[in-house]
């Protein structure tokens, strides 16, 4: 079972939710796909760390073979290539490693070299296997890292919690591709509704079963809750705005492991999500 946790922007509590759900499960895998700013590991403080390099292929031209036809320059839709003064210039950070230029060069002047774009770090934190994708700064796209992260857990038998990057760009689509269920974390503000709407559209586009978790809830009116009612979106629960939770969170503590109250809250949430996921799978088959 793979559960993706997403939100339209950072700071809504996406990591708090995915970390605590993973910690609440008897045995689980936590995957941090927020590769530009992974911070789940700051909570789990995993031991036994193992690093794995993630490399992509970058083209390079052999000047002796290249005749300057520019087929490659015209082909590259990312505009990662320029041909200036009888020389091909490759912009490594712009290249998306599609391999097209290599394929289309009529002179076979292009070969590929490997370039590291980041690493995958895995370790153990109690009942949770923690896997973190880390993208080197300045790189064009973290998609290759996410692909690798998700490929490695395809056969996973334990529950998997995927902490997605914020937003709804293609890197998020990649992260939820294999998910059985999507949890959308929303803040109780008008702006929060706007962010929720973004990810809501995304999960609908991908036909992913989904529900909303209302975070930072106060006694007052909650525009995000209204939005859910109006669109008939399943509300999975509410996490109250709570100083204690905030303090634990900013100290890098996992609430579930420190406080029975939160253990219960996230256990219940987990049970509900599992039920929802089973229900969805059952009604789809």
């Amino acid at each position: 079972m793979k559960i993706a946790v997403l939100s339209g922007k950072g700071g809504t509590g996406k990591t708090l939710v995915s970390v605590n759900l993973a910690a609440a499960a008897p045995a689980s895998v936590y995957i941090d796909c927020d590769v530009e700013e992974p911070n789940g590991h700051l909570f789990f403080k995993p031991q036994d760390l193992k690093n794995q390099r993630v490399v992509v292929k970058i083209p390079q031209a052999d000047q002796k073979l290249c005749n300057g036809c520019r087929t490659c320059v015209d082909f590259c839709k990312f505009n990662a290539l320029a041909y200036i003064k009888d020389k091909l210039i490759v912009f490594n950070e712009v290249c998306h490693s599609c391999g097209g230029c290599l394929l289309f060069c009529p002179e076979k002047a292009i070969s590929e070299k490997e370039k590291e774009i980041g690493i995958i770090q895995s370790g153990i934190s109690g009942n949770v296997r923690v896997v973190t994708g880390i993208l080197n700064t300045g790189e064009a796209s973290g998609v290759p890292i996410i692909k690798r992260l998700l490929q490695d857990i395809r056969q996973e038998s334990e529950a998997v919690f995927i902490d997605c990057p914020p937003g709804s760009a293609c890197i998020v689509m990649e992260s939820i591709k294999d998910a059985d269920y999507c949890i959308l974390v929303a803040e109780p503000t008008i702006f929060g509704v706007h962010n929720l709407d973004m990810v809501y559209e995304l999960v609908r586009l991908f036909h992913k079963p989904h529900g909303v978790l209302l975070n930072k809830c106060l006694e007052e009116e909650n525009p995000a809750e209204e939005f859910c009612r109006k669109n008939q979106i399943k509300i999975l629960g509410k996490i109250p705005f709570d100083l204690e939770l905030g303090t634990m969170n900013s100290n890098g503590q996992i609430a579930v492991r420190h406080h029975p109250k939160y253990k219960e809250l996230f256990r219940n949430l987990l049970d509900l999500v599992i039920k929802e996921t089973r229900h969805e799978t059952a009604s789809n088959t």
């Binding site: 839709k77 505009n79 041909y83 003064k85 210039i89 912009f91 760009a169 293609c170 890197i171």
Partner: protein, 122 residues
């Protein structure tokens, strides 16, 4: 000498465009013959690397100088590799800038900005 200016429209009444890579047109102006022509910037709508592609077309037009309010680092690398000089525009008027250029009053552009790239992947 052939100079290029990113512009908002394809007429001499238009203004200098605030963006380089995403400018809709480039004015190509010959300071000797005072002839002008406009080039569509096919890079304006591209997903990423617009500056690189725009710079490539300008290099291909055999311009010797570019007058622009700003320029990204990748585009600047292409332009530099081609040996083309980058000058900073003084305001948004084409005429003012051409005049200032002819009088040698324009400064070289030195604030090349990083980032701002609209990568398809993010």
């Amino acid at each position: 000498m052939k100079i290029v200016i990113p512009v908002d429209n394809n007429s001499m009444e238009t203004n200098v465009c605030i963006s380089f890579g995403r400018a809709p047109y480039f004015l190509i102006y010959d300071t000797k013959t005072e002839e002008n022509s406009f080039m569509d910037n096919s890079a304006a709508s591209s997903q990423g690397g617009a500056g690189i592609k725009a710079a490539q077309s300008i290099v291909d037009s055999r311009a010797e100088a570019i007058l622009t309010p700003r320029c990204g680092d990748n585009a600047a690398e292409v332009i530099k590799a081609a040996g083309i000089k980058l000058y900073k525009t003084v305001n948004d008027s084409i005429q003012d800038n051409i005049k200032a250029f002819k009088e040698g009053k324009l400064n070289l552009l030195d604030d090349i900005h990083p980032g701002l790239h609209q990568h398809g992947g993010k």
